[in-house]
């Protein structure tokens, strides 16, 4: 479990990082390393150059401005979990950060790294999809914004160009309800199923719902039929949505649980989310 040989660079600017990526098509960004370093040790990844982003000051920091929570790409999970700002404007996001692995991993792992890695069993991609978040990216050709829906292309696959660096993650904070929940066998394990949901509650009815599932499926995914079935319904009136969620997704099987099992426990996560919506609706 020792990595193969690689070159290492630690640039101070995003532009330098981009040009390093452009110069070496087998280069890989290092953004915390909590997934990449084990992959190197197992020799499942063998990049020729590691471009470490830890010395790029522009990539850290959390701001809340004009209804957008902006998280610098190198912001650690732990910083998000403990950020008074995040706890204030979107406590569900701080709680979602706390679902990730263990404190040691959260202290080094970053949101930009996790999003770019696009693990099918990771929390942030589901949160981004459900919140309709964006990533700001910069490449040698300039900067652009990619919506979560356009970013995640499959397991460990994104629409990032080889020379692009995620610089920040933007999450809209617009009064919509946020719910993130997960079934982990042991605390800190990858989720057997992860569910993120955002919605409006008005007059006891759910509207504008966005539902994302990870862990239970081959890649992070929205559940459009369940969303449609829930639209305009009261949380207690959700049997059609529950049926739709069970039917529309392609659940995965592995040694930790069959597809049937993952479907069942995803359903229970959805039921928990709906119960919570019912409670919120009662309090409103």
């Amino acid at each position: 479990m020792k990595s193969p040989v690689f070159a290492y660079a630690a640039p101070n600017t995003v532009a330098e990082a981009c040009s390093l990526l452009a110069d070496d098509e087998d280069a890989k960004l290092l953004a915390g390393g909590q997934s990449l370093v084990p992959l190197l040790a197992l020799r499942l990844a063998a990049p020729t150059t590691l471009v470490d982003l830890r010395l790029v000051p522009a990539l850290t920091g959390i701001t809340h401005d004009q209804g957008v929570l902006r998280l610098g790409a190198m912001t650690t999970h732990r910083s998000i979990e403990r950020s008074p700002l995040v706890q204030d404007v979107a406590p569900a996001i701080a709680e979602a950060a706390a679902l990730i692995a263990h404190p040691q991993v959260r202290t080094r792992g970053t949101i930009g790294g996790a999003v770019a890695h696009a693990d099918a069993a990771a929390e942030w991609p589901a949160v981004l999809l459900a919140m309709d978040g964006h990533v700001e990216v910069t490449g040698t050709g300039g900067s652009r914004s990619i919506s979560a829906g356009d970013l995640f292309m499959g397991p460990f696959m994104t629409s990032l160009e080889p020379d692009e660096v995620i610089t920040s993650v933007s999450l809209p904070i617009d009064g919509r309800e946020i719910w993130v929940d997960e079934h982990q066998r042991r605390h800190g394990d990858y989720g057997l199923s992860i569910l993120a949901m955002t919605y409006q509650l008005s007059d006891g009815l759910i509207t504008d719902v966005r539902l994302a599932v990870a862990g239970a499926t081959g890649s992070v995914t929205r559940a459009p039929e369940a969303e449609a079935a829930l639209e305009g319904r009261a949380p207690a009136d959700s049997n059609d949505a529950i049926t739709a969620l069970a039917a529309e997704l392609s659940y995965t099987s592995d040694i930790h649980g069959s597809a049937d099992y993952r479907r069942d426990i995803t359903t229970t996560l959805f039921q928990r989310a709906l119960r919570a919506a019912g409670e919120r609706s009662g309090q409103a």
Binding site: M1, K2, S3, P4, V5, A41, L42, R43, H183, R185, R186, H187, G188, D189, Y190, L192, I255, H256, G257, S258, D260, Y261, D264, I265, T268, Q271, R272
Partner: protein, 786 residues
């Protein structure tokens, strides 16, 4: 036959029984341990193994040219290179019906499990060694893998042509009128169990450093072994290194649990490499190698049936235990010990069952060899026995406590049908005590109330008797071979301080503390004046291994015998100095005192100083040697006993099982240190919870191991460690030092059955009864959903 080294002097317990803090803790808990990887020898090379990617295949070609040419690679050896020095290591179990295998140091011609070493690359760093491994090209011609032990025993392809019918072990016995018991039974309770494939998973993986000096022919071998003297013996027996120039050194070791109580090909290869390359060679196993190639454990398929009479008393048992043994016997414990012990020893347990039909078998399969892991042979057997007891309780509508009381042995000494004699025990009291601790009526009320709310809790019980203090007598009582003894050296220096060396290595059990407590009570010196050294080097003493719950008993006996030699001299000297009868002298609180004469005393320090520097104080014929080395091996087998009751809750949303609380009763005779005993219980029980709920080595249909990281092989973490309530019963052994018994394996032996029983109780309203471990959340959820 009786030998002097089985006699243990009496001892008055003073420090024994106290919660003395573990002396190793400050050093180990602050990261100051020196583990194998921390040892760096000048000029050392690093070894890495090319391991088979096929479960069963003929090797048609091994190409090493590119690897040899890599900058930094010093040597590449294949099976042919290793075989010039050693054909392989031979394993078998010394029982009827066992067939030996020879495990090559590096595979030649055929590979027989995924992970089997095929070649070794030695390089200037582990990184380069791994680069070199990637450049070794092995061509395999696939052979059919043998993966299912019971079908393997019925014929078909061979996993290992040394065992053409795949039978590595087959035998058994019929004792008493089994047929009569089953014909006359009011009820027969039976089931087939699968006890899953486990890894002992020590936090420190295996590792070896070999260093050879050609000028003196001196070989030094560092290995985190539980059996360094055995390793040393093998260095001479298999490799021809001169015994007098071999030293096996054992640094701090991060857990062994039986996995490190074997001889491994890697341990035999590195000395050869170090000698041939004239450089020290180091191998530190990584986690993937550990999960893939260090011995696996415990997996068995077991058919078992109990006959019960109309009073719900067990009258007979039939068992067939089949081990899924892997490709070779791993010496010395082999793939035989699991099913042999499960069938021949455990089916009767604490119960008076007069008739037994016992069958054991082990199949060679194309998997990693099975070896010893804490509770070897006892865990699976206890699982099936205790689980069927709870099944029987439900069938007879009795409480789990009552069904056990119907059959439990009440009179001692007790001889079971297998002929094993149990001198004493608190078998009935264990059941009674657990019932009291649990407050069974209150539990039943709470269970019913929660069920009405849609919450499901269950209570599981498991009681055990455990062979402890592994000894020659224990082997004989079980018709097993094996001669055991350990030595200890006790030395007192001029200022009255004591240095003790024991023949056992220690992997975190606190031997340095418990042995100091024994010495303190023998010599009357304070604990601070005693230093205990475990078998850090085979230069000192002899040890048969830290195995079989033997540390406290065996090292304790040897330490006490050696201390007693020093004690006798101190008493003689004190008697002379105080003009008293030696029979009236006691050593206590740092002084020799004359019993019944207050104020008449001399300090141990003054006595020690006088031995070294004041001949005028000596009595006639005094021999000033204040150092003694003696051996110990108990005269009779020793058995501890106890039990666990567990309350679990199953989650209707996920099928996850949470252990709410563990109630443990342990009777290991005289308790040397309750903190250490309780630590052993907690650690073992949590391992048992892991075995019952989480841990599972999984092979796919082609014989590939799927679980090669700790992400997939789930071990219990802190949040799986429930609260405990522990109660000590003390039924001293009549013939061990101070009456102590061993207990290191008890937690893992009995915990899985308690978990399984508790889950089955939680699910009792569903009609589902589970008989396999680990219990998966999916099985539980399916049961709850009907």
């Amino acid at each position: 036959m009786s030998f002097p080294h089985s006699q243990s002097p009496s001892i008055a317990a003073r420090s024994i029984g106290a919660r003395v803090p573990r002396g190793d803790d400050p050093r180990l808990l602050t990261g100051r341990g020196q583990y194998l990887a921390d040892i760096v020898l000048p000029g050392e090379l690093h070894a890495c193994f090319v391991r088979s990617s096929a479960a069963h295949a003929r090797i048609t070609r091994v190409t090493t040219d590119e690897a040899r040419a890599l900058d930094g690679v010093v040597a590449v050896w294949t099976g042919e290179d290793a075989a010039k020095f050693c054909e392989g290591i031979v394993g078998e179990l010394e029982v009827e019906g066992c067939f030996a295998t020879t495990m090559p140091l590096l595979a030649r011609d055929i590979v027989r499990y995924v992970g089997e070493p095929v070649a070794v690359v030695v390089a200037e760093s582990r990184y380069v060694a791994e680069d070199g491994c990637d450049l070794v090209d092995v061509d395999y011609e696939p052979l059919e893998p043998v993966l299912h032990p019971r079908s393997a025993l019925e014929g078909g392809p061979s996993a290992n042509e040394e065992l053409p019918d795949n039978v590595a072990l087959r035998g058994g016995k019929v004792l008493g009128d089994v047929e009569g018991a089953f014909n006359d039974a009011a009820r027969v309770i039976e089931a087939t169990f699968h006890s899953g494939r486990l890894s002992a998973g020590p936090m420190e993986t295996r590792g070896v450093i070999a260093s050879y000096d050609w000028t003196s022919r001196r070989l030094r071998l560092w290995t985190g072994s539980q059996m360094p003297h055995y390793i040393k013996y093998c260095l001479t027996a298999y490799l021809g290194f001169p015994e007098n120039e071999c030293e096996v050194l054992t640094p701090d070791t991060g857990g062994g649990f039986g996995q490190k109580a074997h001889i491994f090909p890697e341990e035999m290869l590195l000395p050869l490499l170090a000698r041939e390359l004239d450089r020290p060679v180091k191998w530190v196993e990584d986690r993937r190698e550990n999960l893939m190639t260090a011995t696996h454990a415990h997996e068995q398929f077991i058919d078992i049936a109990y006959a019960f009479d109309s009073d719900a008393r067990a009258t007979g048992v039939r068992i067939r235990a089949t081990g899924d043994g892997g490709a070779y016997h791993q010496p010395p414990w082999s793939m035989g010990v699991e099913p042999w012990c499960t069938a021949m020893v455990t089916p009767t347990g604490v119960y008076d069952i007069p008739a037994a039909d016992l069958t054991y078998e082990a199949a060679a399969t194309n998997k990693t060899p099975i070896g010893a892991y804490r509770g070897v042979g006892y865990m699976a057997g206890t699982l099936v026995r205790e689980c069927l007891m709870d099944d029987a309780a439900r069938a007879f509508k009795l409480s789990p406590f009552d069904i056990r009381r119907r059959s439990v042995v009440r009179e001692f000494p007790w001889t079971n049908p297998q002929g094993i004699v149990y001198d004493e025990g608190s078998w009935l009291q264990t059941i009674d005590e657990l019932e009291r601790m649990v407050d069974y009526p209150a539990f039943l009320e709470r269970q019913a109330a929660l069920r009405a709310e849609g919450r499901f809790i269950g209570l599981g019980l498991s009681v055990f008797v455990e062979s402890s203090g592994e000894s020659t007598a224990m082997g004989k009582a079980h018709d097993l071979g094996g001669i055991y003894h350990d030595t200890a050296t006790v030395k007192m220096e001029p200022n009255g301080s004591v240095t003790v060396t024991i023949g056992l290595t220690t992997q975190g059990q606190g031997h340095r503390t418990t042995m100091a407590q024994v010495v303190a009570d023998s010599l009357g010196v304070p604990l601070e004046a005693i230093t205990v050294r475990a078998a850090e080097s085979t230069t000192y003493g002899w040890g048969s291994g830290t195995v079989g719950s033997r540390g406290a008993v065996i090292a304790g006996g040897a330490v006490l015998r050696a201390s007693n030699v020093i004690r006798t001299k101190l008493v003689a000297l004190a008697a002379s100095m105080l003009e008293a009868d030696p029979a009236d002298i006691d050593l206590v609180d740092g002084a020799a005192v004359v019993l019944g004469v207050p104020g008449s005393s001399v300090s141990i320090i003054d006595l020690a100083t006088a031995v070294y520097f004041d001949q005028s104080a000596w009595p006639a014929d005094f021999d000033p040697t204040l150092e003694a080395t003696l051996a110990y091996d108990p005269a009779r087998p020793i058995f501890s006993n106890g039990g666990h009751a567990m309350i679990v809750e199953v989650a209707p949303e996920t099928g996850f099982v949470t252990v709410e609380k563990v109630f443990s009763v342990e009777d290991c005779g005289t308790v040397i240190n309750p903190d250490i005993v309780e630590g052993q219980i907690r650690g073992g029980v949590v391992q048992g919870i892991g075995a019952a709920l989480l841990e599972r080595l999984v092979y796919d249909d082609s014989g590939q191991l799927v679980t090669t990281t700790l992400l997939d092989y789930h071990m219990p973490s802190m949040d799986f460690s429930p609260p405990f309530e522990i109660h000590h019963l003390e039924t001293p052994s009549s013939h061990t030092p101070g009456g102590i018994k061993g207990m290191g394996e008890s937690g893992l032996i009995a915990a899985p059955a308690a978990v399984l029983n508790a889950v089955n109780d939680a699910l009792s309203h569903t009609g589902t009864v589970l008989h396999d471990i680990p219990i998966t959340p999916e099985q539980v959820l399916r049961a709850l959903r009907g």
